[in-house]
Symmetry: C2
DNA sequence: TATTAGCACTCAATTTATTAGAGTGCTAAT
DNA sequence: ATTAGCACTCTAATAAATTGAGTGCTAATA
């Protein structure tokens, strides 16, 4: 299909897209003829548009209507026509400044900021830990039948697990257990905790060897829990601002997807694992890996807090989303996020 | 206004309500005349309905339409006409059986179950701790500039806080700090940690008195964090199943409320603090304390896991919700929840 | 040869008119 | 007290008419 577009066609296509982004209505030849600085009559534009349609960049929803851009046109637009406009989003900067240091609050905040700033729905996934190495363990006696296991992993991710025990453990023994476990397990990744090691540990634990098993289980569930990914969403109701998404069927599905969050997690991690890609991805319509988003565009970005701690942000809106703004918002936010977070 | 309703009027009103619950359409006199076992002609019904309208129990959306119940009628229905029908919901039982022991997972699960079972939107608020007494503290050295504070409160609620320190602390000193803090603070509620106590602690801490301040701060934020209430939602998209709620305006507002969760938390705790009320509350229309729910009914229930650990569940649907089912679902769920949770 | 004015034609969307039907209130008969 | 019967009302559904934005094509123009 598409031969190269000459300069004029590009300009016209650009005008059609921009106009459609603003209005959400099909764009007619007369509009373009007035809108652009090309000074061409509507008839000429019509001819050109006819060509563009043939090439697959625009379509008519019905015979006597204006044109709307196809996914292909958006793709072209996103790939080549995008101009940065950082200025508008400078305001975002510094808004993160005085936030708490609790990661979940920060991320929730990021989602909110982006959602209100862009008027699209936003998804932020918490960073995943790559290696999942154990930094240290801390057992504490809660009461005679419960022990609290605090697990600190690399990147200072902390998990708590409560384990039940049959008979009380003396304070000295608690101390011994702590030392025993830490000397043997610290610095290990989950995969490295072999059955052999566990048996060795148990032998050394003497009377309380049963507890070792419990601790290992706790460790496993904690690390596993770490894997099923926190996701923060905001601005889901923004979809109602775009008629093409707001009808019941679609809205219901989208809201459901947002509530479920599972599919979103997938979306977030999808490109995340790929090679050193800190870039920005744009999925247009069917390109998105989620069914309910067939009529949306999704822009995702990957951020990295420290080596191995990477999460992602996705912004979901109608296909006619303001790609420029979204992309630069994301860029600013990511820079800001990394800056704030790395300094502490 | 309302004088007492005679038996027949009650029956007719009941029929109107039930019918409207099912269909969502205004109910005409003929329908009632066939539907009930009263064997009255439509004309008679008409007369009675005219009376009921005058009394404020039903209204006509327009002159030549059937009648729909007013909030007052729903109120009457809920207060006096409700029959239990536990059977249908037996299936709910046991579904909680094999869940994990992580509170948040369980509650999320409860929300899901109720939402799918009732087809209404569901909100579950995590239990709040009444006294906020400190069970014990545990300081652990993470690295030379960070100490992890693990805070265990009554009811085995656990919080982690990371504090920064200027100079490294030796292992012995860590141990001393731990003992010092625990001997002085255990069993205290936040309000009881006076400035006097803090100063005394600092004196005894010697070189590391600065850390004491940090720990107290950590304690404060942890307990404060405990206060701003976790809320789990599910089935928000159920509102699209009821045309009277599904129009853009309303849907958008509702979804927003659901996403925000703040207002919901309010809703949940609203009646919670009141006297030993383990009962079920029904808010109809304007009765609800949330603006966006003017056209909804809200049924809330309070559950108690152990002394002082109380949370609440709310189910939100159209005014014509199936009150019977919702109430008995809630009852079953609450029993189940308390049973499962109290046994461990 | 590229551009443009002009015009007939198309088709969704809006408006207007028409009809159908559900439901009421009232009256007179039972 | 109840009910059959009928005129009346008003929404909702359907059909018909109108509007208007936009197109494609052709012939004139630069």
């Amino acid at each position: 299909m598409q031969e190269e577009l000459d300069e004029r066609k590009k300009k016209i296509l650009h005008a059609v897209i921009r106009n459609y982004l603003e209005t959400g209505e099909p764009v007619g030849s007369r509009t373009i003829s007035k809108y652009t600085d090309l000074n061409l009559s509507s008839a000429t534009i019509r001819n050109e548009m006819s060509d563009l349609e043939e090439m697959g960049y625009i379509v008519q929803p019905h015979t006597s209507a204006g044109r709307i851009p196809t996914d292909m046109a958006y793709r072209l637009y996103v790939d080549s026509m995008m101009e940065e406009k950082d200025k508008e989003i400078e305001e975002l900067k510094g808004m993160l400044q005085r936030t708490e240091d609790k990661m979940d609050k920060v991320l929730k905040n990021v989602a909110n900021l982006l959602a209100t700033n862009t008027n699209y729905a936003t998804v932020v996934s918490a960073p995943q830990i790559k290696g999942n190495r154990l930094k240290f363990l801390q057992l504490s006696k809660v009461d005679d039948s419960h022990i609290l296991v605090v697990i600190v992993m690399e990147g200072n991710v902390i998990r708590n697990e409560m384990i039940q025990i049959d008979e009380p453990v003396s304070d000295e023994n608690m101390l011994k257990l702590n030392i025993l476990l830490n000397t043997h397990l610290n610095g290990l990744a989950l995969e490295e905790i072999s059955l052999g090691r566990i048996t060795a540990l148990k032998e050394q634990a003497g009377i309380h060897s049963g507890i070792i098993g419990n601790v290992i289980d706790a460790l496993a569930t904690a690390i596993k829990g770490e894997e099923d990914l926190e996701v923060y969403t905001s601005g889901a109701n923004n979809i109602f601002k775009y008629p093409e998404l707001a009808d019941q069927q679609r809205a219901s599905e989208l809201i459901h997807t947002f509530e479920e969050k599972k599919a979103l997690a997938k979306l977030a991690t999808d490109k995340l694992s790929e090679e050193g890609n800190t870039g920005i991805q744009v999925y247009i319509g069917e390109e998105a890996p989620i069914d309910s988003m067939k009529d949306c565009s999704v822009v995702t970005a990957t951020y990295e807090l420290e080596e191995g701690m990477r999460g992602s942000i996705a912004i979901i809106g109608p296909k006619r989303m303001d790609y420029d703004k979204v992309v630069s918002s994301l860029k600013t936010m990511m820079k800001e996020l990394e800056r704030v977070y790395k300094k502490e």
